[in-house]
Symmetry: C2
Subunit: 247 residues, 2 copies
């Protein structure tokens, strides 16, 4: 198995989730095979960053204002590469918005959440994607433009009000307040997508918190509720990392 490198700490509960999912994937992949001793696991290197430093060094509209931020992520990826990692990933959707500014000069391939989610859409036969995530994710054109290059038409909730409602749901889920959140999300989705379009549109839960609203499906890569087809970006991304490591 190839060694997996994870940029983590953005935030730490998300890193826990990715690491656990990859290890569980290895358990189920190796279940049938007869090994002597404990289940084989891929070697994994994690560089867990300081979220406060990341927050304090966010830039503005001037690209140069992001220099320290970009460098912090770039150095973590370089570190993972020099630790022998052959599959790299970031255990969070949000920093993917600046992917192009941090991957320059890497030799090992970075498996982006865009590729993982795009591939899942195609497997599901979906050509359209509604992306629900943090304000930063929904405020950046990155998800939409990256999906376009994969052949998937992506969109965010269309109004500031709907985006704020999703941000509020994420805050509540972060504080473990999940009661009633499934209904709230379903309702927002039905405002964004017509009943006709629901048939060929997937809804990406593009942060670690949103799947907590659907606790019975929290480890599923995708699931359907009353005609809404959800994709859990964390599960899909972590599984893709494991699949890449056994290729």
């Amino acid at each position: 198995m190839k060694k997996i490198g994870i940029v983590g700490g953005i935030g730490w509960p998300s890193t826990l989730e990715y690491y656990k999912l990859i290890c569980e994937e290895s358990l189920s992949y190796h279940k049938e095979k007869q090994y002597v001793g404990p289940c084989p696991m891929p070697e994994i290197s994690i560089e867990s960053l300081n979220m406060n430093f990341i927050f304090s060094n966010r830039g503005s509209h001037e690209p140069v204002s992001w220099t320290i931020w970009n460098q912090y992520f770039h150095n973590a990826l370089l570190q993972l590469e020099s630790s022998g990692c052959e599959v790299l990933l970031m255990a969070s959707v949000t920093p993917h918005a600046r992917l192009k500014d941090i991957v320059g000069g890497l030799t090992a391939p970075l498996l982006s959440v865009y590729t993982a989610v795009g591939d899942e859409c195609k497997k599901m036969g979906m050509n359209n994607l509604l992306v629900l995530g943090t304000s930063q994710t929904m405020g950046s054109p990155a998800f939409v433009s990256e999906m376009k290059s994969i052949g998937v038409v992506a969109m965010y909730p269309s109004t500031a009000d709907l985006k704020n409602k999703i941000a509020e749901v994420i805050s509540l889920l972060y504080e473990n307040k999940s009661e009633g959140m499934e209904k709230v999300i379903n309702k927002i989705v039905r405002v964004c997508i017509t009943p006709e379009d629901l048939k060929h549109t997937a809804v990406c839960l593009a942060c670690t918190e949103l799947p907590l609203a659907f606790s019975q499906y929290s480890s599923e890569p995708h699931f359907s509720i009353n005609g809404i087809h959800y994709i859990n970006s964390t599960v899909v991304h972590a599984r893709a990392a494991f699949m890449a490591c056994i290729e």
Copy 2:
């Protein structure tokens, strides 16, 4: 904060626990302080090893038979050091039995579970320690000799039968079967220690599974039940790592 380096994957649930405990320590340490943005977290690098490779490369009574095993751990520690880690630890008690063979040539200090548990004993005013852990831990003189150098008299359950009982409890807890295990452990402790000696003897739960039998105290560094004073080595070790990183 100093960067923390963790050798993990031995096994992966234990790594999850250490990482979570260190992050939670940072949350509670920074709670009172007024920071802008998310709570500051120490940077953490984790080298998660393949448990199956470790198992397959265990040696015998011949020291030279452990060469590959020793090298595997040593390389992981060197990697953490070259990633800039200034506090090193292994997220498992079991490999500590071979600590002396794997730390040679390191510049950064390795915070051993022995130091962490020994310091906790002294804080509690205990000079004696009963160590309950995996068969490998209880089959090695390491814990006892290392405690001696700290000034604590350590011992394992005295008979093979008692050691086997502890190993059985660990297997059941590993499979999430915790019902009734608290009573079983308490009973074994009372066979090992006289009521008089219980007053000045701590009992070290020296693996990640054993504290699962005491779910109401699982995040406490130490706790008492019916006159038995338990130490949770995982919590004590992870806390000591956080304290070392803010020193």
